[in-house]
């Protein structure tokens, strides 16, 4: 039902059930909030979105207030402004005030609020909170002193990811967000998805600093530094480097990295392509041998960690193929059985991904071989931006340049990997040539949604009907796997799971720009870019070709033992 309310004396049409906050935003008034998150129920914790409603004694938080008939809302009275300003000042009273030394000094919400509300004087003085940063996790750094207790990270971790690695501890102004017994993130069930970093309004959650290691490698004359550029990183970095938002900046980025002193730059989409073909090969093998069992993707490191922690019974069903990043490392360094090295011994491989989990993944013991790591360092998009700024690269002077041979060209599967459901489609495409019987067998891929809300696709190749399902975000993944875990018969041949909402497009390593719509935009860009890439080709190396053939002939396990590219998951059990 529609009716009219008055905002600052302007009549506005609203729908019943809408929250006042969304109406105000639609009307064009920016209301500051610290705790509000799209897709979550309002908590009313920060009290910054207060507005005055005529006839009411108290100020009302617009986020939790559903519109009513005959409302007269005033958003900018002195009373409201004073309240908002005071609240931010209260937050600042015990803030560490080290904005100049803060990883978020450029895009801190609290700092922006302080500026917007014109806070120029310290009115309230309170003792600083005696909390120390938590460096224990390999991926996420927590500085509780900067925390404003907005509960966004707690809610994301609990409701969206169903991990609950952190929660509120204690009460009153002693409250701190931490894991049990205040033992730090490394002792928690954190799966390193990094979603908490992307929602944090201040610098309380950030990447564990790791630029030094890369810098040292760049400085070392003996070392050759290789950069692997992930396609999912390319789609989000453009606008943060002041390029046009929807521009393919792979070439420009290559040029910039060269200027940083990189030895060679490869496109990670080769490895993605290989990864997908390997998995497709395994599925084809299963189909041909009548094994009716879904293959569950294992390319997302956070999802793997999640499965290991919360559903160990799933682990044997995970795909044995290494994630693209690790696969590429293995392959380049010749760490598989073939010992065919593609690069020098003193190479230092830096993987550039929009993923926090990858930073944890490359440190796992199964991803090293006799002391040699497959990947030597991982930088998230945020850190890459920092590195570029640190080195003072003038973006305007960058000229596009192709990544190094032989892994120079962005392959379409690469961009498909960038969003939830894309990988499934890629698998289907890769599967088609493997199991079609006749030359002109038809191919049909129909994505849809099952009645219970699970994303799935029907794949028809010739006379065969196959089903593929996918989910992104652990909450949805749990729903999808519920049936699988309770041993219900499921007809999926492949299940794709990504820990972050919207897949890598919503990855925890992207630059911080709030809102769900951002990841949707990135997904669209991925889809546009993949069109530019043309038709998928066969892999470009005989080595990979041999490997794929081997799976075809001798089955997964044997082939893997020969090539040693398994991710160590089934070895663990």
């Amino acid at each position: 039902m529609d009716f009219t309310i008055h905002i600052n004396n302007n009549p506005v049409k609203v729908q019943e059930g809408e929250s006042l906050l969304s109406v105000l935003r639609r009307f064009g008034i920016r209301i500051p909030t610290l705790c509000n998150m799209e897709g979550f129920s309002p908590t009313g914790a920060c009290r910054l979105c207060v507005v005055e409603i005529e006839g009411r004694k108290e100020l009302v938080t617009s986020c939790s207030f559903p519109v009513e008939k005959g409302l007269c809302v005033l958003t900018n009275t002195q009373r409201v402004m004073r309240a908002r300003k005071s609240i931010v000042e209260m937050l600042l009273s015990n803030h560490p005030d080290d904005c100049l030394y803060c990883s978020r000094n450029a895009n801190c919400e609290l700092r922006t609020l302080a500026a917007e509300l014109h806070i120029v004087e310290r009115r309230y003085n309170a003792p600083k909170r005696p909390f120390f940063p938590d460096f224990s996790s390999p991926s996420v750094m927590r500085d509780a002193a900067k925390c404003v207790l907005c509960s966004r990270c707690v809610r994301v971790c609990e409701e969206l990811q169903e991990v609950t690695a952190i929660d509120f501890i204690s009460r009153s102004n002693q409250t701190i967000i931490n894991s049990a017994f205040k033992k730090g993130l490394n002792n928690s069930c954190c799966v390193h998805c990094g979603q908490c970093i992307t929602v944090c309004p201040t610098g309380a959650l950030s990447d564990l600093p790791s630029l030094d290691k890369v810098q040292a490698a760049l400085d070392n004359k003996e070392k050759k530094v290789y950069f692997l550029i992930s396609p999912a990183l390319v789609v989000s970095i453009a606008e943060h480097l002041d390029f046009k938002p929807q521009q393919n900046v792979l070439g420009l980025l290559t040029n910039i990295l060269k200027k940083l002193g990189a030895s060679k730059i490869f496109d990670l989409s080769f490895a993605i392509d290989l990864h997908i073909r390997m998995e497709a090969q395994i599925i084809a093998h299963r189909i041909q041998n009548g094994i009716n069992e879904p293959l569950i993707s294992s390319c997302c490191p956070s999802w793997v960690k999640y499965a290991e922690t919360f559903m160990p019974e799933i682990v044997p069903h995970l795909s044995p193929v290494k994630s693209p990043q690790q696969l590429f490392g293995t392959y380049l360094k010749g760490l598989d059985a073939t010992n065919e090295k593609m690069i020098e011994d003193d190479a230092f491989i830096v993987s550039l991904v929009p993923c926090v989990g990858a930073r944890f993944e490359f440190t796992r013991p199964q991803n090293t071989h006799k002391g040699i790591a497959e990947i030597d360092a991982v930088l998230t998009t945020r850190e890459l931006l920092n590195l570029i700024r640190l080195h003072g690269i003038d973006i305007t002077k960058a000229t596009p340049e192709s990544p190094d041979m032989p892994f120079d060209k962005g392959l379409p599967f690469g961009f498909k990997m960038g969003y939830s459901g894309g990988k499934s489609e890629a698998i289907a495409e890769a599967l088609y040539p493997l199991i079609k019987k006749k030359r002109n067998d038809h191919y049909k891929y129909i994505p849809g949604r099952s009645p219970s809300g699970i994303r799935e696709a029907k794949l028809a190749i010739g006379l065969k009907d196959l089903k593929i399902a996918w989910a992104s975000g652990q909450h949805k993944a749990n729903k999808l796997l519920e049936g699988f875990r309770s041993n219900k018969k499921q007809s999926f041949c492949y299940i794709e799971i990504m820990a972050c909402g919207d897949g890598c497009a919503g990855g925890g390593g992207h630059p911080i720009d709030f809102g769900k719509e951002k990841s949707r935009i990135r997904k669209k860009i991925c889809q546009e870019f993949e069109k530019e890439c043309g038709i998928p080709n066969a892999p470009k190396s005989t080595h990979a070709e041999n490997f794929l053939l081997d799976i075809q002939k001798s089955g997964t396990n044997q082939a893997l033992s020969k090539f040693r590219t398994d991710n160590g998951l089934h070895k663990q059990l």
């Binding site: 009290r47 986020c63 003085n125 009460r171």
Partner: protein, 650 residues
């Protein structure tokens, strides 16, 4: 009629009284009821007030020694663990009723007085040297000569005891006595004759409002739940009572649990909730046990559970014991606590009446509010409307504490003035010091001063002077207490008890608390900017307080700055002398004392010199010492350690 077995008593009470006609028909039944109601007795009867307040005062020791005494006594005597009549400052209280005579109330009974008391009383004579508070006069029993009626005692004379009528009088764990005195009749009649809507209507007409502090019309709340369609609804009695300085609800639970059970039953019936929950604190151990035992009895009588009294109505009552946190008293926090979460209040709407416990419609009422209900149903909405003032109906319970002569739980009609309570019921101030302030609803921080003492207890009138009645704390403060100190104490309490969810309450209370600490303490030695910080802080007090009051998430947070705002309004002189003169007029802020060494008395033993933590004392051995004021932090170590009384404090 043969009333020797429990079964026959049950049959009489259920069949003839609860399901029978009104009034209970035959003289025979009436006679039986007077025995069950302990108006007439066959054996001597001794009550010991064993509610928590009595136990704290040592009632269990008295109980034990009476028991010991009776073991050596030849005749049978009934010893009952009774409840509390409310006069807690006179605890331990023992009541003795001899067959044929009226019941006597003795106060301040100590262990050594027990044998004297029993020796005399069991021989029908009044003991000397024991405080007799009064007797319960009766027309059918012989009254004691020269003993005033209990209602003539100043503590009781000013009260209007409707809710507390039976508290401390009946055996709390005797369902028979409760029914014999008219209990459960309101409920049995309601389920037999009234629809849930009609019950809601009756309560709405009575204009009963929530006593927990919210003052929301009870009937309207019930109707909102009643009208919401849901597969399951809950009815919760809030007995958390986390507000320090008030324990009326605990007292009712301990002294008359059946009244609460009956109220819960009526509430659950009226809101069509099949599950009623009493939510209390684990610390209220005795109260919870009393309630559980009473609940068992009620179940046994078929008053709780499936198909109550063959009416087709099923209501289950359970008790939940929560952990300790002040904020649990807020209804949404309480619901979170029951669900096993951190008790953080939630933003309203949605209100619990739509989405409460387990997201089902839930009605949460304070115990004190609820126990009004059986009375209203019994005597009618019109009768209830006749009590109190135009805008506030009924009576209100208070926990009278602080520096009055009589302290305890009291019940007064709405419309009584504070002066009447303090000087009438409270018996004036003890130690004959002048009255200074009254902390109303203690932690809500509303101060009544000499000027507002004659305001009537009425929600509207109090609102007009900017004060809310609070939940029922009532602490009287005399001139020796420093109001700034009290405000600092209250603010500190709110700061510690803030749930930490919303910013104004979490950070704001910490800021105020720190500012007030600075005003009642001496600065650290060496901190040169402290005076500046103090003045800066004081300048911000009002603005922080206002923002906390205007923007906090829950009512508890909103009342956090009341204390300091109230001090600024009523005791500004006192506050100013703390800030500017660094003096506490009432002398109770120990941190602001100035110390002085009398050179004539000081022998130069150097004890104070060695102990001073801030090097504020100078001097050499065997020479009089001297205190440097600027360095002194007012810790009073020197004062305490001087053996020659050479140091004096101002």
């Amino acid at each position: 009629m043969n009333l020797t077995t429990a079964e026959s008593i049950k049959k009489l009470l259920v069949q003839k009284v609860l399901l029978g006609h009104e009034p209970p028909a035959t003289p025979e039944i009436l006679k039986e009821l007077s025995f069950l109601g302990k108006e007439r007795i066959h054996r001597p009867l001794i009550y010991v007030g064993m509610a928590s307040c009595g136990t704290i005062a040592g009632a269990s020791k008295i109980h034990d020694s009476i028991k010991e005494y009776l073991e050596g006594y030849n005749y049978q005597v009934d010893l009952v663990e009774g409840g509390c009549i409310g006069l807690c400052s006179m605890e331990p209280i023992v009541d003795i009723q001899m067959p044929g005579r009226t019941r006597l109330v003795f106060g301040n009974v100590s262990k050594d007085k027990v044998s004297l008391l029993l020796d005399e009383m069991l021989n029908y004579s009044l003991p000397q040297g024991v405080d007799i508070l009064g007797q319960y006069s009766s027309q059918i029993l012989q009254n004691w000569d020269d003993v005033p009626d209990i209602s003539a005692h100043p503590f009781f004379a000013g009260q209007h005891r409707l809710l507390l009528k039976h508290c401390g009088v009946i055996d709390p764990l005797s369902v028979a006595e409760y029914i014999a005195k008219g209990g459960y009749r309101a409920f049995s009649r309601a389920i037999a004759q009234k629809m849930p809507v009609e019950v809601c209507q009756c309560i709405e007409e009575s204009r009963l409002t929530g006593r927990g502090g919210g003052n929301f019309p009870v009937g309207r709340k019930w109707r909102m739940v009643q009208e919401t369609y849901a597969s399951q609804k809950y009815f919760i009695a809030n007995a958390v009572e986390s507000d320090p300085g008030s324990y009326m609800n605990r007292m009712v639970m301990e002294s008359n649990p059946h009244l609460l059970i009956e109220s819960l039953l009526i509430g659950a019936y009226a809101t069509a909730a099949s599950k009623a929950i009493l939510f209390t604190r684990r610390e209220f151990d005795h109260a919870a046990k009393q309630f559980e035992k009473a609940l068992e009895q009620a179940r046994n009588f078929g008053l709780v559970g499936h198909n109550i009294l063959d009416s087709g109505v099923s209501i289950d009552i359970s008790i939940k014991k929560g952990a300790r946190a002040f904020v649990c008293g807020e209804e949404t926090a309480l619901i979170n606590s029951i669900e096993g979460k951190r008790a953080m209040p939630q933003a309203k709407p949605p209100y619990p009446t739509e989405k409460g416990l387990w997201d089902k419609p839930t009605c949460v009422n304070n115990v004190e509010t609820l126990i009004n209900v059986p009375l209203i149903l019994h005597k009618g909405a019109e009768w209830f409307k006749g009590i109190g003032t135009e805008t506030s109906k009924g009576t209100k319970l208070f926990t009278l504490s602080g520096q009055t002569s009589n302290r305890g739980i009291i019940e007064v009609t709405m419309g009584a003035t504070f002066r009447e309570i303090i000087y009438g019921i409270g018996g004036g101030l003890k130690n004959s010091v002048r009255f200074k302030a009254l902390l109303l609803g203690i932690n809500s921080g509303n101060f009544i001063t000499e000027n507002t003492l004659d305001v009537r207890i009425d929600y509207k009138e109090l609102q007009n002077i900017g004060i809310s009645l609070g939940s029922g704390g009532f602490a009287v403060v005399d001139q020796t207490t420093c109001m700034v100190d009290i405000a600092a104490h209250l603010t500190k309490f709110f700061q510690k008890e803030s749930c930490g969810k919303c910013i104004p309450c979490r950070e704001g209370t910490a800021i105020i608390s720190q500012i007030l600490e600075q005003t009642i303490r001496r600065p650290d030695a060496g901190n040169k900017t402290s005076a500046l910080e103090r003045f800066k802080g004081i300048m911000q007090l009002k603005s922080v307080s206002t923002v906390i009051r205007e923007t906090s998430l829950c009512a508890l947070g909103r009342s956090a700055p009341n204390a300091i705002l109230s001090v600024m309004q009523n005791f500004n002189d006192e506050l100013r002398s703390h800030i500017y003169d660094r003096k506490c007029p009432s002398g109770s802020c120990k941190g602001l004392r100035v110390f002085f060494i009398d050179p004539n008395k000081c022998i130069g033993c150097t004890v104070c010199f060695k102990k001073c933590p801030s090097d504020a004392i100078v001097g050499t051995i065997k020479q009089p010492h001297h205190i440097i004021d600027e360095r002194c932090i007012g810790c009073s170590v020197c004062y305490d350690s001087c053996k020659f009384n050479a140091i004096s404090a101002y």
